[in-house]
Symmetry: C2
Subunit: 129 residues, 2 copies
DNA sequence: CTTGACTCTATAGTTACTATAGATTTTATA
DNA sequence: TATAAAATCTATAGTAACTATAGAGTCAAG
């Protein structure tokens, strides 16, 4: 299949597919006589692996490492474990941050009933302190 | 005070201060004879307003709008309200996403005890499906 | 044989910074 | 006072993960 079809099947934009290829996350596809990229089902699986990782917010560099590891089935998977745990730590950290943000935003929102003037707005007052 | 002192007092890096100025979030400071930026306490307050907004993850463009609004104390604050509520929605949305990520990452992590080979690693298997 | 859809590469834009390079100014030391 | 070190200046490039062009080439249908 050509890139447009892979794009539709995968739900990944054409530019993103080409971008992933440039970044070395997808193996270089065959080319047609007219230089069009030609993909197989294997290509689709590669792309879906990347998408799955991205859906977990794993950075492209780490995905690259995961792909390399995937190709060495005999090695220990401890680095895979470590990577996922780091990602989990990061997610937990960000969740904590967001909770704090949420609290402050909610409290701020509650200080204003929206029919004030800006001079009397509790939100602006909070932000100013 | 010069930019270095403002940087220390505010906890904002020198480059970031200059960047905020370029982006129109801080008013242009006075200049010394030798063209060094000279700041007042008012400048510090401006910068702290920006920092407070940034700590709530409000994008620079929205902060710019908030500053403009702040300078029109007689107008209605409904747009301020709207902006904060949008930010709150965004935070809530992101929190939901992160919860889902966390769940999947945790489940994945639980499928591997870290002393597998990659070929037998539950994490890689999950990512592959 | 031309139109339109698709694809190609290369390049620039996005966000909020951070990090240089190379020049100039100021401050501290000898 | 001479000089060295620290601070500042502008301009430019890099970061992450895309997205969006521009301009040219390819391919299928009418
Ligand atoms: Zn999944
Ligand atoms: Zn208000
Ligand atoms: Zn606050
Ligand atoms: Zn494992």
């Amino acid at each position: 299949m050509k890139i447009g079809e892979l794009s539709k099947t995968s739900g990944c934009s054409v530019q993103t597919i080409r971008y992933y290829e440039r970044e070395g996350l997808l193996s270089d596809p065959e080319r047609s006589e007219g230089n069009f990229r030609l993909y197989s089902d294997k290509s689709l699986k590669e792309l879906e692996f990347v998408k799955h990782c991205r859906s977990l917010d794993i950075p492209l560099n780490d995905i690259k490492r995961l792909i390399e590891l995937k190709n060495k089935p005999e090695e220990s998977c401890s680095s895979v474990n470590k990577l996922i745990k780091q990602q989990l730590d990061l997610v937990n950290k960000r969740m904590k941050e967001l909770k704090a943000l949420k609290n402050e935003l909610q409290q701020m929102a509650s200080t204003c009933n929206s029919d004030n003037t800006i001079g009397a707005c509790g939100i602006i007052k909070s932000l100013d302190s």
